[in-house]
């Protein structure tokens, strides 16, 4: 069963992608000429991409080319991203972008963003931004989306095998994967959910908190593996943290009781004159909590990726391998710290979500 699922996953990954031939003389030349730009390299790694770069130079190295899915006015367009990366590299002053070939004809990609080319087959720039070209909605299976699939699949497989253990063995002392996961699951149930949410109501929120905890934790850890299937900065991407925080907000708003709304629109013990000031503040307060959740996770994970990449870059800035004696131990130290941060951020997100939910469902006690 497990084996079959693994094969299906591998088959899926391969069917979605096509491998590149590492031959692009033009790209290689320009790479050698160019000075090493640290911030560009780091930003490139931290942001999303339409390819999964494995090794070799940025242009012409070995990559997994991921499928591009675009929703244009005419309909849905799908093609492999190799049609963009292996297309024509156009230089327009400071800016350079890829012009799609084959099925990607008519599209241009500038800094991983795909635009429709105008009738002359060009992108127009203004202050380093594309201006005037239509931007179709990009539903591509990007690097982060692939990582999202892998991470979620991993979480599901781990938890499903745990559940299978209990199904076959009944309520006995855990063994194997269940032995490892059970204390963590119990920790989330007892010390995160039960400790922060009303005793009678916490059960309803345990699945959400467990899922959010393991989703963030496993994806944080995946992001720390330097090569496929890791390295994607998924939990350090604002779209992902935005969604998770928004989901927490929705849960708070849906489950907020009379007491919660009462504290917002009629704070007890506040003079009537102050209400015009207090109510807007309380309403802003509804949104600042999930906003803080979103920023905290995004900033922590992105910062971790940036620090490690920056430390490794010391070697390449100085063009001397001896600097490795400094940068490798430092990067190792930060990596170990990031292992802690990976678990800590998952804990904090789940913990604060539970705290906010707990405050929203709390009964009045006067």
């Amino acid at each position: 069963m497990k084996k079959a699922l693994t094969y299906i996953l591998i088959a899926l990954v391969f069917s979605m992608t096509s491998f590149a031939s590492p031959a692009n003389e033009h790209g290689k030349e320009s790479h050698d000429e160019k000075e090493f730009d640290v911030s560009e390299m780091i930003m490139h790694h931290v942001k999303d991409a339409h390819e999964w770069h494995l090794w070799g130079p940025e242009h012409g190295g070995t990559s997994i080319y991921l499928p591009v899915i675009l929703k244009t006015k005419e309909g849905v367009e799908t093609f492999s991203s190799s049609n963009l990366y292996h297309g024509e590299l156009v230089h327009d002053g400071e800016n350079h972008y890829y012009k799609g070939v084959g099925p990607a004809q008519g599209f241009g990609m500038f800094h991983e963003k795909i635009y429709e080319l105008d009738e002359h087959g060009k992108l127009h720039f203004e202050d380093g931004h594309v201006h005037g070209n239509i931007k179709p909605i990009d539903f591509s299976i990007t690097k982060n989306v692939t990582s999202l699939f892998i991470g979620s699949f991993l979480v599901f497989i781990i938890m499903f095998s745990c559940a299978k253990f209990y199904k076959t063995n009944g309520a006995v002392a855990p063994k194997g994967i269940a032995k490892f996961m059970e204390p963590i699951i119990l920790f989330v149930q007892d010390d995160i959910a039960k400790a922060n949410i009303d005793e009678k109501k916490y059960k309803k929120f345990v699945p959400f908190l467990l899922t959010i905890f393991f989703f963030i934790w496993i994806n944080n850890l995946l992001g720390m593996i330097p090569i496929f299937p890791g390295s994607a900065n998924l939990t350090g991407n604002i779209s992902v943290t935005f969604f998770l925080a928004a989901l927490t907000l929705v849960i708070i708003l849906v489950n907020g009781n009379k007491n919660y709304w009462g504290h917002i629109f009629a704070p007890p013990g506040v003079p009537k004159l102050l209400l015009p000031i207090m109510i807007p503040i309380e309403i802003v307060g509804i949104f600042t909590k999930p906003f803080a959740l979103m920023i905290r996770l995004f900033a922590n994970i992105t910062a971790g990726h940036i620090i490690i990449l920056a430390l490794i870059s010391i070697i390449f800035i100085n063009k001397n391998v001896a600097w490795g004696a400094l940068s490798v131990p430092m990067a190792l130290f930060i990596s170990i710290l990031e292992l802690l941060v990976a678990a800590l951020q998952a804990y904090l997100f789940a913990m604060l979500s539970a705290l906010f939910i707990g405050a929203a469902v709390e009964e009045a006690h006067h």
Binding site: M43, V46, K47, D48, I69, H111, K113, I137, D138, F139, S140, I141, T142, N144, V145, L148, F149, S152, V155, F156, M159, F160, C162, A163, Y166, K167, G170, A171, V172, A173, A178, E182, I185, L186, Q189, V206, P207, F208, L210, T211, F215, N237, I238, S239, V240, F242, F243, L244, L247, F298, T302
Partner: protein, 164 residues
Amino acid sequence: MDLVLPDFGLLFWTGLVFCSLLFLLAKFAWKPILAAVNERGNSISEALALAEKTREEMKSLKAENDKILKAAKAERDEILKDAKQTSNSMIEAAKEKSKEEAQKIVDAARDSIRSEKAAAMAELKTHVAALSLEIAEKVVRTELSSDEKQKALANNLASDINMN
């Protein structure tokens, strides 16, 4: 700047994947795992409570046992003491009786010895008298002439050899 701006495509996929994951895990993982773990927790606390109760019962049972044992010990000691006393008195009585018996036998023996001795003495006396008579007759026949003098001498002699 686009580092901090949400991207619609990724947002869409995150929503889709996370919601499916939440649904699948809630149905196929969290429900059975939490059910099993909480059931086990309950059964463990029940078992602990039962063990505590059993321990209490054992304690009271042990106390009772101790009491019974103590009583039994006391009774045994009593019985032993009684038996010892009885046996002592029995031995004492037997000793007393045997002593008496022995005394009686000794007394009887003494009596018979005395009577035997008296009989033997009497017989000896008559025998001696006859012998003396014979001796005296022989002496008198040779030495004495008159019958009167002979008789008086014989009587004198006989009373002289009387040992009593």
